[in-house]
Amino acid sequence: MPSDYAYVGLFLIFGVAFVLITFFFARLLRPSRPNPIKNRSYECGETAVGSAWVQYNVSYYIYALIFVIFDVELVFLFPWAAAYRSLGLFAFVEMFIFIMILVFGLAYAWRKGALKWV
């Protein structure tokens, strides 16, 4: 029932309000004396090298891509698992075929070295 989600909505509103109020009071209380060293991006105490906007390696995109494809596959497992008890062996065979087709994709990615961390 949607009315049960009113709690989720309240939680979201309180979460956002908490962060905003904290930032607001911090702005009221703190002194504002910026200088170039303070404004540098924080890298665990090390001196920052270059800008935070750097070009990433394309192979990171391939990891994101593989994640997306198998995320979508996972979403199909939920309704299958919910309906499994009433369907039995037929549903098992269907999902077996479904996953086997995608295993080819995983094997291809593995074979091409797309899973290797650089």
């Binding site: 990433y56 990171y60 391939i62 994101a64 995320d71 596959e73 979403v75 037929f90 995608l102």
Partner: protein
């Protein structure tokens, strides 16, 4: 109560969608896309399509926008912020867009929509799964082929050589 939630979500969706198509910084566009998709999931919850709302968050908020942000990081140009963002024919485009909007809203207001008289329970994940496994079994298997083709194709494209 429902009306209020609907209006708040509608304002959130339309505001963030307009931000997506107008902001200059592509990264901010991607973040507003996340907000827009999340609010649409809220609309699905108002419609009592809870499973679709969960899938919306998982696929769009969790996966597609992550991919968008990766692509923004990979194609970022240092000069990108000052470059012209709009193409050569915005006036013709706006004419087409406004006529499209007027036409759809006119058709919408002129039609009387039939609504099921019985307000039965809304379909759950179990019924969705049963429909996927029985009536829609062929689309279900084709989906895995689509995903396989997308995976192989995208790997071939982005590895280049």
């Amino acid at each position: 109560m429902f009306d209020l939630a609907f209006y708040i979500l509608a304002v959130l969706i339309l505001g963030s969608a307009l931000m997506v198509v107008t902001l200059r910084n592509i990264f901010h566009c991607a973040l507003f896309l996340v907000l827009c998709m999340f609010s649409i999931a809220g609309i699905y919850i108002l419609l009592e399509a809870e499973f679709i709302a969960a899938v919306q968050v998982l696929i769009y908020v969790g996966a597609v926008t992550i991919l968008m942000i990766f692509a923004v990081m990979l194609t970022h140009q240092l000069t990108g912020k000052t470059i012209r963002q709009v193409n050569d024919q915005p006036i013709a485009a706006l004419f087409i867009i406004s006529s499209l909007l007027v036409l759809t809203l006119l058709a919408l207001s002129k039609t009387t929509w039939e609504v099921a008289s019985s307000s039965g329970v809304s379909p759950s994940a179990t019924e969705l799964g049963r429909a996927l496994m029985t009536v829609y079994v062929l689309p279900f298997e084709v989906v895995s082929v689509v995903l396989l083709v997308a995976l192989v194709g995208a790997i071939v494209i982005s590895r280049g050589d």
